[in-house]
């Protein structure tokens, strides 16, 4: 076990009924690195992220986050998770949503932190409006604020760039860069290769629940984002 590993996924198998969604999956993510999980729909990216976030259990193998189980209280205090859903309540206002999650994660100076984040994601003027009146972009920005609210050491983001407008993509990219600068470990799944590869330090390519490639992100990958698919998957880049 490397002491610098933040995440260790060791020979993990996960079944949905008889179907193996993950097959003998092994991956190590170092502390402070940003790993982009790449792969086509149904490859197993979301399954990995749900296991890491403690939302799903695996049948075989072991998963360790900072040396502990993903469900341990200490780990969950340090995790920020953004799944397919935005994870905010439609009938509460933006401020009420953030205050609630600030209470849940145990932030001391809630009011100040929440106001700061509302300002940062450009929702300060509509902070008292119920989320159901928000546009899609505004909801996404609120979801980002919820995820980053407690400055988590570990970020698990499932297709975070999907359906974001240019402004929100820039905001997310900036938040991820800042998170890396303060030493956070990031695992994100995505189909937006360019955005993800620009931020990622490492790449893991999954196909049919199997790890096809994992390693550092290279300059060649940035120049030709489809290169990985061509080299390491059975179907190639098409």
């Amino acid at each position: 076990m490397k002491p610098s590993a933040a995440i260790e996924i060791d020979h993990v198998w996960k079944f949905y009924g008889d179907y193996p969604a993950l097959r003998d999956y092994t991956l190590t993510v170092g502390q402070g690195s940003c790993c982009a999980l790449l792969g086509r729909n149904g490859a197993g990216k979301t399954t990995i992220l749900r296991i890491l976030a403690g939302l799903s259990s695996h049948q075989r193998g072991a998963v360790r986050i900072l040396g502990a189980s993903p469900r341990s209280g200490d780990v969950r205090t340090r995790v920020g998770f953004l799944g397919h859903g935005i994870g905010v309540y439609e009938d509460l206002s933006a401020r009420e949503n953030l205050v609630f999650f600030a209470r849940v994660v145990g932030i001391e100076n809630r009011s100040q932190t929440v106001d700061g984040w509302l300002e940062r994601v450009g929702l300060a003027r509509v902070a008292s409006m119920p989320v159901r009146q928000f546009s899609r972009g505004m909801r996404q920005r609120l979801a980002l604020a919820r995820t980053f609210l407690h400055a988590p050491d570990l970020l698990f983001l499932d297709e975070p760039f999907t359906s974001l407008d240019d402004r929100a993509i820039a905001m997310l990219s900036e938040l991820l860069v800042q998170a890396r600068q303060r030493g956070a470990t990031i695992v994100l799944s995505t189909h937006q290769l360019r955005e993800a590869l620009a931020i990622a330090s490492h790449v893991a390519l999954i196909e049919n629940g199997r790890l096809r490639f994992s390693g550092e992100r290279t300059t060649e990958m940035l120049e030709d984002p489809a290169l990985l698919y061509r080299l390491h998957t059975e179907l190639g880049a098409d």
Binding site: R71, T77, F81, G83, D91
Partner: protein, 226 residues
């Protein structure tokens, strides 16, 4: 202390949403009043029989209208996958279940209070003769309904037919609680002396609440995550 603080946050959030939407309150309140109104045509309001069976009428109405409230408890977490956001957070599953039960409890109590007033008018019953004892029984029995509703609401949250499944699963479990509540409420409303028999049922309610709350806390992780 932390579990309790987090549970209060969950209950407060649920009540804030409920006060804004009033979806459970309106449905449960209207249902309770409609049932009481309909049954008032079945029984003679001036008959002593009504007083003798008032507990049964009331608690069946509360249990059925309660289903409309605890059905909403966890299904409120489904849009936008809020349940995932909560389970991935440091919120303990026990806090989540107890908080949900707290939200159901506080929503069901006003429905019960309004129903009591309506019951008093329609059935010509003086229900206020033993207010502290009646309040204690209402609190104990309502918490029992709320905690069982929260636990099974969590278990059925991902079922397609959860609105149908939930009452089918819950009512058999609530039988001892409802019998106890009915027996003591009958005695209190009929203004009979409270005997050891009623105290025994009151203790059954207390034990039911303690056991169910403890089980919910211990099994919360299994119920919500696994």
């Amino acid at each position: 202390m932390r579990v309790l603080r987090q549970a209060l946050s969950v209950a407060y959030k649920d009540l804030a949403i409920e006060l804004r939407t009033k979806e459970s309150l309106n449905a449960a309140g209207a249902f309770a009043i409609a049932i009481l109104l309909l049954l008032s045509f079945v029984f003679d309001p001036f008959s002593d029989v009504v007083r003798e069976m008032s507990g049964g009428l009331l608690w069946l109405v509360f249990a059925f209208s309660g289903a409309l409230i605890f059905n909403r408890g966890f299904s409120r977490e489904l849009p936008n996958e809020c349940l995932d956001a909560l389970l991935a957070s440091p919120l303990s599953p026990a806090s989540l279940l107890i908080g949900k039960a707290g939200g159901i409890f506080v929503t069901l109590l006003p429905v019960e209070l309004v129903s009591l007033f309506v019951f008093g008018i329609f059935y010509n019953v003086r229900w206020w003769l033993h207010p502290p004892e009646l309040a204690a029984i209402f609190v104990l029995a309502t918490w029992g309904i709320a905690i069982v509703g929260a636990v099974f609401g969590a278990l059925t949250v991902n079922l397609r037919l959860r609105e149908l499944m939930l009452p089918v699963i819950i009512y058999p479990l609530l039988i001892p609680l409802l019998i106890g509540a009915i027996e003591v409420t009958n005695t209190l409303i009929a203004n009979h002396p409270v005997t050891d028999y009623e105290w025994l049922w009151a203790r059954v309610l207390l034990v039911f609440d303690v056991v169910m709350t403890a089980l919910a806390s211990v099994l919360a992780e299994t119920i919500l995550v696994n």
